[in-house]
């Protein structure tokens, strides 16, 4: 395929130039990746600087100025208790973004560890770990998360725990497959032959060869985790009611259908952030797996 080979050769060519130039070259071929990175950075900055940027306190109520449409004073209008929607959306990133990242971090760590063990040890360990992961995968994400939060009680921490419980099997399966593939490589066989300890082989030889694929999967997954977290929150199974969490804000919008600004802005926030994360994930996958470009 001409275009595929040209991609590969262009990467090879750029490899000879400076590191910065190489990155610029890759990014130049990935406009969506650039857009994604910019949008995510904007949201992270907005969340970090919310207390400086936001014109109002996210929790400050003013019931005499409630459900006002957007105006100069309230760029995003006000919600049912007279809180400033724009300020709340800015602060919302402080909850949703870390929540999504935490889910992926813990889910991928737990899952990768399980998968690596299963793949590396094989035998009965493999069977047990994989059967357990299949059990969890048989429940759809939101249903399992709903059941877990129902058991633990709704709050942010439990929502994250529920999502980790849902998330790890995907990584376990990915990691197991990768480990099995790497294990059969010559250099691993060689390590065995020279009598390297098993722990050394796993940690120094096998895992480093799997990390890139796991990382690509995590970026592809963050958007999904954010979506699911917001969905739980929408159902009332996440942070407490006052919280300016985006899913929560949209849920209130169900009662305030005509007052579109109460739910459309937080909706736009989630959508833009998740789109951005997906652009990044797709872009990274293309770079690491140029065959599919």
């Amino acid at each position: 395929m001409s275009s595929t080979s040209s991609t590969i050769s262009s990467i090879r060519v750029s490899a000879r130039t400076s590191r910065a130039g190489r990155i610029a070259g890759v990014l130049g071929r990935q406009p969506l990746l650039v857009v994604g990175i910019i949008v995510v950075i904007i949201w992270i900055i907005a969340a970090l600087l919310a207390s400086q940027i936001a014109p109002f306190e996210p929790l400050a109520q003013d019931v005499r100025n409630r459900v006002q449409p957007p105006s100069a004073a309230h760029l995003g209008g006000t919600d049912e208790l007279g809180r400033d929607v724009f300020s709340r959306v800015l602060y919302g990133g402080r909850i949703t973004i870390p929540a999504g990242i935490l889910v992926i971090v813990f889910g991928s760590l737990l899952g990768s560890a399980m998968g690596a063990l299963a793949g590396f040890l094989g035998g009965i360990w493999d069977e047990v770990i994989m059967r357990i992961s299949e059990l969890f995968m048989a429940f759809p994400t939101i249903i399992l998360a709903m059941a877990v939060t129902a058991a633990l009680g709704p709050d942010i921490r439990n929502a994250i725990i529920a999502l980790v419980v849902v998330w790890w099997p995907g990584y376990a399966r990915l990691m197991r497959g990768l480990v099995l593939k790497v294990k059969s490589n010559d250099y691993v066989e060689a390590a065995y032959c020279v009598g390297a300890p098993r722990r050394y082989i796993l940690l120094r030889t096998i895992i480093p060869n799997c990390i890139a694929s796991v990382l690509v999967m995590t970026t592809l997954d963050i958007g999904n985790a954010i979506l699911t977290f917001a969905g739980l929150s929408f159902l009332g199974l996440g942070p407490e009611p006052t919280s300016p969490e985006w899913g929560r804000m949209i849920a209130v919008g169900i009662d305030y259908f005509d007052q579109w600004w109460t739910w459309l802005y937080p909706g736009f926030a989630i959508a833009s952030l998740v789109i951005a994360f997906n652009f990044i994930g797709d872009g990274l996958r293309d770079i690491f797996d140029p065959r599919l470009r």
Partner: protein, 524 residues
């Protein structure tokens, strides 16, 4: 192109849909309602959904006027006498009333229904608690003996819980009025599927959380109602009710919030009813220090009453500040002007006096529930903000209604937010919130031994007082006392509002049964 075909398909569908002419021969009324009941059995259900349905499928001995509870009117009974000692009531039945199967309504049916209510231990059974016995003297005469004088007994009888059921039919389907009816009676499933009463309508089907269908009772002995068929469709989301009302899919929306009704104002196709309600939203503070913690302290309880932004809640929902725990408009009830005024300095001083100068942390429990357009979650957030101003740090703990009820009912709730609709449309209703009453004793653990003797004496007098002057004196003293010292903080009595299609006539809001669908008709 595929997308072209899809578009075409959608267009064809749209044409089909708009082209279908609803050729209906029968008159149908469709009501959108957030259904909230677990039973339509008169002796078991105790919710407003059940009231709306059972009010037209069953009849009572006595009833209220169409729009209020100002007097007691005959219904199945034509007249009644009360004995000298006030303990025996004798009713004469009208004699021509028949059930939906055509059989006559007799004194036996009345006795069966009342005993069944009493012994079945359903949610409304407490209404029959002070009935010592009920006997059918002859086919058209029934008499009740009470264990104590109850000035509100007749008002009680107007509750749908006392709806008279067809004893033979209910017995055939597992009904029992014996003392062990709580376990022996198995007629609930039958009564959830059809009705066995003498009202103008007959329950055709109830599919929980989906819809309830009423059809005209073919054997109704009174004037036939206008609509052949009433569909009460379950639409839990108020916003959906609004959209459905605007598009004409439903005729009546019962659960809209004031924010949803506001944009309907200018719509000529829609009429709006707005009027004072009788639901009081209140905070409950447990008297037991182990459960309530800081809020069991009377000083803190008063401070919380002083800290609430009463006008703010009116800005949210309309309506008035309840002058006391009983609704404004009830007999002898305090007016809004007599209610507690917000005073943050005094509240802070009281907290300091109680040893909480720096405030304290507390969890507020409440159900996730929107009742008559009032979203309790919105109020809970406002309570949190109000109390933060005097240093009380509130954590919100919402739960699904049935789950939240659990702690409330067992008295395990330290700090809760609930609302109260009167059981009995009489001043005596407020006794539920005083020591010896249901809410005070069982929910707030404000039992007679926790209250002082003077208050217990006042309550005892209020229970049996019949002379208007004495009642006024006693109930006024009780309300004044509760403002100073009680584990309750009533904060809003919202307006009620209903929106309906303009061609619907005869809409009347009723404080007891909300809506009498038999009064409605459609103008041509």
């Amino acid at each position: 192109m595929k997308s072209g075909r899809l578009l075409l398909l959608i267009m064809i569908i749209t044409v089909l849909v708009t082209g279908v002419v609803a050729a209906q021969d029968e008159t149908v009324l469709v009501i959108g309602h957030a259904e909230s009941t677990d039973s339509l059995d008169p002796a078991r259900g105790y919710t407003q959904t059940k009231d709306i349905i059972d009010h037209v499928t069953y009849e009572n001995l006595v009833t209220f006027p169409q729009a209020d509870a100002s007097e007691i009117l005959p219904m199945l009974a034509t007249d009644w006498t009360i004995s000298e000692d006030g303990l025996t009531y004798t009713f004469n039945l009208r004699g021509d009333a028949v059930f939906s199967d055509g059989s006559p309504v007799t004194a036996d049916d009345v006795a069966f229904s009342v005993n069944r209510l009493k012994y079945v231990q359903g949610s409304p059974s407490f209404l029959a608690a002070d009935i010592a016995s009920v006997t059918a003297d002859d086919a058209d005469t029934v008499s009740f003996t009470l264990t104590q004088i109850n000035p509100a007994f007749l008002a009680n009888l107007a509750n749908t819980a006392f709806g008279v059921v067809n004893a033979d039919v209910v017995r055939e389907n597992g009904g029992s009025d014996a003392e062990d009816a709580a376990t022996a009676d198995t007629a609930e499933a039958y009564l959830n599927g059809t009705s066995a009463g003498s009202g103008p309508y007959l329950l055709e089907s109830w599919e929980p959380q989906v819809e309830t269908v009423l059809v005209r009772n073919p054997n109704f002995y009174g004037d036939a109602p206008y609509f052949d068929r009433i569909i009460i469709t379950n639409i839990p989301e108020a916003a959906t009710q609004k959209v459905a009302l605007e598009s004409g899919e439903i005729d009546l929306a019962l659960d809209l919030t004031s924010d949803q009704i506001a944009p309907l104002e200018g719509n000529p196709a829609i009429s709006i009813y707005r009027g004072p309600g009788n639901i009081v939203h209140f905070l409950l503070m447990n008297e037991d220090p182990d459960i309530g913690g800081p809020v069991s302290d009377p000083l803190v309880q008063r401070a919380i009453r002083l800290a609430l932004d009463y006008e703010g809640y009116q800005a949210l929902w309309g309506g008035v500040q309840p002058g006391s725990i009983t609704f404004v408009g009830n007999a002898y009830a305090f007016t809004p002007e007599q209610g507690v005024k917000r005073n943050l300095d005094e509240a802070r001083a009281l907290l300091a006096q109680a040893g909480y100068a720096d405030g304290f942390d507390i969890t507020l429990e409440y159900p996730i529930f929107t009742f008559q357009g009032v979203n309790m979650e919105t109020n809970a957030q406002k309570i949190q903000a109000d109390l933060a101003e005097v240093g009380i740090n509130v954590t919100l703990s919402p739960a699904e209604l049935q789950v939240a009820l659990e702690n409330y009912r067992t008295g395990a709730e330290g700090f809760g937010y609930w609302f109260w609709g009167p059981d009995i449309l009489d001043a005596i209703d407020m006794l539920a919130f005083l020591p010896g009453g249901k809410v005070a004793d069982e929910r707030a653990l404000w039992t007679p031994d926790r209250a002082d003797a003077a208050l217990n004496d006042l309550v005892a007098r209020a229970r049996v007082a019949t002379d208007p002057a004495e009642r006024e004196e006693v109930f006024t003293a009780l309300q004044a006392s509760m403002q100073e010292n009680s584990p309750f903080a009533p904060f809003i009595q919202p307006d009620v509002q209903t929106a309906f299609r303009s061609d619907i006539e005869g809409y009347v809001w009723h404080p007891q049964w909300l809506l009498d669908v038999a009064l409605l008709s459609r103008s041509m």
